[in-house]
Amino acid sequence: MYSQEHKEFLKKRKKRKILITLTQLLILILLIIIWELLAKYEIINTFISSSPSKIINTIMDLYKTNNLFKHIWITIYETILSFGLGTILGIIIAVILWWNNFLYKVLDPYLTVINSLPKVALGPIIIIYFGANINSIIIMALLISVIITIITVYNGFTETDINKINLLKSFKATKWQILKMAILPSSYSTIISSLKINISMSLIGVIMGEFLVSKEGIGYLIMYGSQVFNLNLVISGIIILMIVSILMYKIVSYIEKILIKKD
């Protein structure tokens, strides 16, 4: 059992935590109210700044015309697809590079260049090659997530304790056994934490892709809204995107927590 002092300490801590959360909520609510009031008394121009009630109406309209979840779903679908492909491909390529150091040395400068290049610049080429459709969006997101995965995971591999590798070698382990028994397990947490980066990267790629290709998805809503100068739609899109990205990030963080705990 805890001492009285420790109980007091815990109580104080909890109180403080609640206070912080409440203050955060209060600021949010206050901002929304001020925004709404400013719009209502026409102190700000609602045509370019929209207002909370208009945003809610826009979202409700989207929902009623059955489009809201279609757009959300397509963006989530594209993100998960490119996230999954990016992670798997990234790990496989990292393994190949670890296996063949010559190949790694040869490809290293290319990887660096591609990594530092803003992938959106490749957008037009991607569209020409893969067409103005979902394929281009996936490729765009994949490009962004796969390169960073390769680099993070490969670095994780090379950080494996040399003594562990030597120990396995002293048992006459094959390269495959070294990979399976030392490299992969000791890079486990690196790989898992690269997932969190990857989900954000994929979402960025998907939204960029949707901006360019624009048929459906949250990125399309934002782009379309700006083209017809419907700022209500633009800001609604951004808010939906915020919620979606927070949700996906939280889910991946949660999965990460479970996977790491098992360790």
């Binding site: 003594n163 562990k164 030597n166 396995l168 002293s170 006459k172 028994m181 000791s186």
Partner: protein, 256 residues
């Protein structure tokens, strides 16, 4: 003084071993014409100035490094070597039992018999209650015992210990080296141990080999003979102990 003639009791003969490391900064002559015979069942300690090439010698024996010249001969039969490094080569993601079975797994020899043998070793050396635990739940001394059992599991003919106790604090180190010595003697293993610690070398070994500065060669060999020799901790109290200590100290003494 160095006997290279074939002795019927030799399990390992090293002849004119030379090792040069190459890298872009240049070459390092680590070992030059090193000759050494190891007899079956003996406990040999190797001491020498830091950086003289001790670890290199073991790496070559274990095939982790290629030799540049010379011969490594096993006069009796091909022998299996067991390598035990300094600290923390236990795999944190495997439990104690799986850590001990690692070598067997690599060699695809996890038979019922071998597994029972490992369990018996864990049992005998006081680790029975920990087989499902993970290395970070164990003390430094226990981890070192686990590492030894992992090495013994593959049933090597020669044990190679590279600074196996240097990560431990002084008190634990005395106790663990005593423990490990007893295990090794009980399992009747030929052992080559590298150490920085002259006292550790004298108290544990049957012979102490002193190497020269890099490039290393054998400088001196001491047959350790103690009155009432028993376990390493007790050996430290023998009258000859300090005599050997002084001699070896002077051999290694590098003017810093």
């Amino acid at each position: 003084m160095i006997n290279t003639s074939k002795n019927s009791n030799d399990i390992l003969v090293i002849k004119n071993l030379t090792k040069i490391y190459h890298n872009k900064e240049g070459e390092t002559l680590a070992i030059k014409d090193l000759n050494l015979n190891i007899k079956e069942g003996e406990f040999v300690a190797i001491v020498g100035p830091s950086g003289c090439g001790k670890s290199t010698l073991l790496s070559i024996l274990c095939n982790l490094e290629d030799k540049s010249a010379g011969n490594i001969i096993f006069p009796k039969k091909e022998v299996k070597l067991g390598y035990m490094l300094q600290e923390d080569t236990l795999f944190p993601w495997l439990n104690i039992l799986d850590n001990c079975l690692l070598g067997l797994k690599v060699q695809k020899k996890v038979t019922k018999e071998n597994k029972d043998n490992v369990l018996k070793l864990l049992n005998t050396y006081g680790l029975k209650d920990f087989i499902k635990k993970y290395p970070n739940n164990l003390s430094g001394g226990m981890r070192q015992r686990v590492a030894l059992i992992r090495t013994l599991a593959t049933n090597p003919d020669i044990l190679l210990l590279d600074e196996a106790f240097s990560a431990l604090d002084y008190q634990t180190r005395l106790a663990v080296s005593d423990d490990v010595w007893k295990i090794i003697k009980k399992e009747k293993k030929t052992t080559i141990m590298i150490t920085h610690d002259i006292a550790e070398a004298i108290s544990m070994a049957d012979r102490v080999i002193v190497l020269t500065n890099r490039p290393s060669k054998v400088k001196k060999i001491y047959n350790i003979e103690m009155t009432n020799s028993s376990s390493p901790i007790n050996n430290r109290k023998c009258p000859e102990f300090s005599k050997y200590y002084d001699l070896i100290w002077k051999d290694i003494d590098i003017h810093v």
